[in-house]
C-alpha cells in the first residue's frame, strides 16, 4: 500500500515540474510591465529601466527562472503587487474560504444529483428520466456568473431573504476563532450558533450557484453507472431471489455503482474550482480564485504563479485521496495491492 502511494506521488512530479515551468513562462509573456508599475505613473523610460534592473527583470529568462525556483525552494512565492503582501500569506489566508465554498457546493450538488441519477436510471426512458436529464443539463448550460447574479437579484434584492453578497460574514459580525479556517466548522467547534447561522446564510447562494453547475456531471455518471450495474447478473439474481426493489437498488446496485461516481468527483472538484473563480467575483468572496483573477488582470506575476501551484498541488493531493478511497470502496483493488 505504502509503496503504491509513494509510486503514485512520484508519478505526479513531472506534472508539477511542468506546472512550474509553464506558469513561469506564461506569466512572463503576460502583457503589462512590472517595472512600469513600480516606477509610478510619471516615470521616464529611463527610470523604468532602472527599476527593471533593480527587480532583476532585465536578466535573461533562464536566470530569472533559476532565482524563481530558488525562492520557491525556500517557500517564498514572491510578493503581490495588488495586495502588497507576500503571496504565501495571501494564499494561506484565502484558501480556506475557497475550499469551504467549493466543498459546500460539491456536497450540496451530491445531495441532489445522486438521487436524481438513481431515479433516472431506475426509471430509464420514462418522463422522469428525460426531465432529470433536461434539468441537470440546463444547470450546466448557464454561465455561473449569470446564475449567481440572478440569485442575488431574486433572493437578496427582490425577496430580501438572503444576506448581502459581501463575502463570508456580515460586515458587523466577527469571524470565529480560527481552527480549520472553515467558518462553518469553526463556529460549530466554538459552539457559536449565531456565527454558524450567519456564515451559513452567506455561503448558501454562492454554494447553490456552484451546485447547480455541478449537477450534470454527477447525475450523468450516477445514472450511467447505475444503468450498467442494474444490467449485471448479480442484480438480476438479487431481484429474482425476491429481495425488495429498494434493497436491490440501494444495497446491491448503488454500492457497486459508487465507484465511478467517486472517481468523477475529483474531476468535478477541479471543474468547480474553475467555476469558483467567477462565483467568487460575483459574491465578493475572499477566496483564492478572485485573488488570481484580479492578479491576472493586473499582470501581477507572483500571485498567479502561486495560485496555479497551490491548485496543482491541491488537485494532485485530491486525486491521491480519491485513489485511496477507491481502494477502500472496491475490495478487488485492495487484493491486487
Amino acid at each position: 500500500m505504502l509503496k503504491i502511494l509513494i509510486g503514485r506521488i512520484l508519478t505526479t512530479i513531472p506534472a508539477l515540474i511542468g506546472v512550474v515551468v509553464v506558469s513561469f513562462l506564461l506569466t512572463r509573456v503576460l502583457p503589462g510591465d512590472t517595472a512600469a508599475y513600480f516606477a509610478g505613473p510619471a516615470a521616464t523610460p529611463q527610470a523604468i529601466e532602472e527599476v527593471r534592473k533593480k527587480l532583476g527583470l532585465d536578466r535573461p529568462l533562464p536566470e530569472q527562472f533559476a532565482s524563481y525556483v530558488r525562492d520557491l525552494s525556500h517557500g517564498n512565492l514572491g510578493q503581490s503587487l495588488t495586495t502588497g503582501q507576500p503571496v504565501l500569506s495571501d494564499i494561506k489566508a484565502r484558501l480556506p474560504a475557497s475550499a469551504e465554498l467549493t466543498l459546500f457546493g460539491l456536497v450540496l450538488s451530491l445531495l441532489i444529483a445522486v438521487p436524481l441519477g438513481i431515479v433516472a436510471a431506475v426509471r430509464q426512458g420514462s418522463m422522469i428520466d428525460h426531465a432529470c436529464r433536461a434539468i441537470v443539463t440546463a444547470g450546466v448550460s448557464l454561465p455561473v456568473f449569470f446564475t449567481g447574479l440572478l440569485l442575488v437579484y431574486v433572493f437578496y434584492f427582490i425577496l430580501q431573504i438572503s444576506p448581502a453578497p459581501l463575502g463570508r460574514l456580515d460586515v458587523f459580525a466577527s469571524a470565529p476563532a480560527e481552527i480549520t479556517g472553515f467558518y462553518l466548522l469553526d463556529s460549530l467547534l466554538a459552539r457559536d450558533g449565531a456565527t454558524f447561522r450567519a456564515s451559513f446564510s452567506q455561503l448558501l447562494l454562492p454554494g447553490v450557484t456552484l451546485a447547480i453547475f455541478a449537477l450534470a456531471p454527477i447525475a450523468r455518471i450516477t445514472r450511467a453507472s447505475m444503468l450498467s450495474v442494474l444490467s449485471m447478473d448479480f442484480v438480476r439474481t438479487a431481484r429474482a431471489s425476491g429481495l425488495s426493489r429498494r434493497k436491490v437498488i440501494m444495497t446491491y446496485a448503488f454500492r457497486n455503482a459508487l465507484l465511478p461516481v467517486v472517481t468523477t468527483l475529483g474531476m468535478v472538484f477541479s471543474f468547480l474550482l474553475g467555476a469558483n473563480v467567477l462565483v467568487e467575483k460575483v459574491f465578493a468572496w475572499p477566496g483564492i480564485g478572485s485573488y488570481a483573477v484580479e492578479a491576472l488582470i493586473a499582470s501581477d506575476f507572483a500571485p498567479v504563479q502561486g495560485f496555479v501551484l497551490a491548485m496543482a498541488i491541491l488537485y494532485i493531493v485530491l486525486n491521491l485521496l480519491i485513489d485511496l478511497s477507491y481502494r477502500l470502496i472496491d475490495p478487488r483493488m485492495r487484493a491486487s495491492s
Binding site: T12, P14, A15, L16, G18, V19, V22, S23, L26, T27, V29, L30, P31, G125, H130, R133, A134, T137, A138, V140, S141, L142, P143, V144, F145, F146, L149, L150, V152, Y153, F157, A216, R220, A224, L227, S228, S231, S270, F271, L273, G274, A275, V277, L278, K281, G289, A292, V293, L296, I297, S299, V304, F307, V308, M311, A312, Y315, I316
Partner: protein, 291 residues
C-alpha cells in the same frame, strides 16, 4: 466493444438505430431541432435580422422589449434581437473551431499514445497530466491575457484546456482496439502502423469522439462567456453572447433584465443543445449503455 469498420450496411443500420433512438427520446429530438435553428441563425443570421446589429441609435437606448424591438435595445440603442441572432455565427464558430483544433491535436495524440504505447504514450500522458493539474479556467485566462484577446486566441485557449480530455478518451479507445481482429487483419495485409492508426483506428473511434466533441462544444461557449465576463472576450462592437450577458448582468438590478436574459437564454439553449446531442449521440454510438 469494437466493431468492424463500417460498410454500407453498417451505416444503414446505424442510421436506422439513430432514428429509433431519436423517436424514443423526445429530448434528443428536441435537441436536434434546436441545432437546426442554431445552424440556420449562424448561416443566415446577418440577412434575416431586422436591424443592423452594429448600428447605434442614441435616441432609443435601453428600451424594453416591444413589437419593434423584440428583445429590447441596449445602452447604445442597438437592437438586442439582431445582436443575439447575429452572435450565433461567432459563438458557434468559436465552439466548432476550438473543438476541431483539439480533436486534431488531442485526438490524434491520444490515438498515437494508445496505439503505439511506449514513449509516445508517456509523453502524451505527461502533457495531459500537466494541463490537468492547472486550474483550467485560469489557464485559459492566462493564455488569452498573454496572447491578446482575439477570437483566434480564445479558440486556442479553449482547445488547450480540453486537450487532456480528448487525449485520454482517444487513448483508451485506441488501446482497446490495438489488438482487435480488424487491426490484426490490416497488419497482416501489410499496412504500416501509421496507416493502420489513421485508416482503421481513427474511423473506428470517431463516433465516440463525436460524443466528446458535442459535449465540449457547449463547454467552449461557456468558457468564452466566462472570459468575456472578466474582460478578456472578443473585441467590441462584435456581438457575442458571453459579452452581452456579462455587460447586461450589471443591469439586472437596475431593471434592464432583457440585456442579459436574452443572450443568456441563447447561450443556454446552445450549450443545452450540444449537451443533449452529446448524450443522445452516446446512446446511438454506444448501445451497450442503453440496455
Amino acid at each position: 466493444m469494437s466493431r468492424s469498420p463500417g460498410t454500407g450496411a453498417a451505416i444503414l443500420a446505424t442510421l436506422s438505430h439513430a432514428r429509433y433512438v431519436i423517436s424514443g427520446n423526445p429530448v434528443t429530438a428536441f435537441a436536434f431541432m434546436l441545432l437546426g435553428l442554431l445552424l440556420f441563425c449562424a448561416v443566415f443570421g446577418p440577412w434575416i435580422v431586422p436591424f443592423d446589429p452594429l448600428a447605434s441609435d442614441t435616441a432609443a437606448t435601453l428600451k424594453a422589449p416591444s413589437l419593434r424591438h423584440w428583445f429590447g435595445t441596449d445602452a447604445l440603442g442597438r437592437d438586442v434581437f439582431s445582436r443575439v441572432v447575429a452572435a450565433t455565427r461567432l459563438d458557434l464558430a468559436i465552439a466548432v473551431f476550438s473543438v476541431a483544433l483539439v480533436f486534431a491535436f488531442g485526438g490524434l495524440a491520444g490515438i498515437a499514445a494508445g496505439f503505439f504505447g511506449g514513449w509516445t504514450d508517456r509523453i502524451v500522458g505527461r502533457i495531459a497530466d500537466t494541463i490537468m493539474a492547472f486550474p483550467l479556467f485560469v489557464l485559459a485566462m492566462g493564455i488569452v491575457a498573454a496572447l491578446g484577446n482575439t477570437v483566434t486566441n480564445i479558440v486556442i485557449a479553449t482547445a488547450i484546456i480540453n486537450f487532456p480530455l480528448y487525449a485520454r478518451v482517444a487513448r483508451t479507445e485506441a488501446s482497446v482496439r490495438r489488438e482487435a481482429g480488424f487491426v490484426m487483419a490490416a497488419r497482416l495485409s501489410g499496412n504500416s502502423e501509421l496507416r493502420i492508426a489513421l485508416t482503421s483506428i481513427l474511423p473506428n473511434i470517431l463516433p465516440i469522439m463525436m460524443v466528446q466533441m458535442s459535449l465540449t462544444m457547449g463547454y467552449a461557449i461557456l468558457n468564452a462567456a466566462g472570459l468575456s465576463f472578466i474582460g478578456l472576450g472578443v473585441r467590441p462592437p462584435m456581438p457575442e453572447w458571453g459579452i452581452m450577458v456579462a455587460e447586461g448582468a450589471g443591469s439586472i438590478i437596475s431593471g434592464e433584465w432583457w440585456l442579459a436574459l436574452f443572450p443568456g437564454l441563447a447561450l443556454m439553449l446552445a450549450v443545452f443543445c450540444f449537451n443533449l446531442i452529446g448524450d443522445g449521440l452516446r446512446d446511438i454510438v454506444d448501445p451497450q449503455r442503453r440496455t
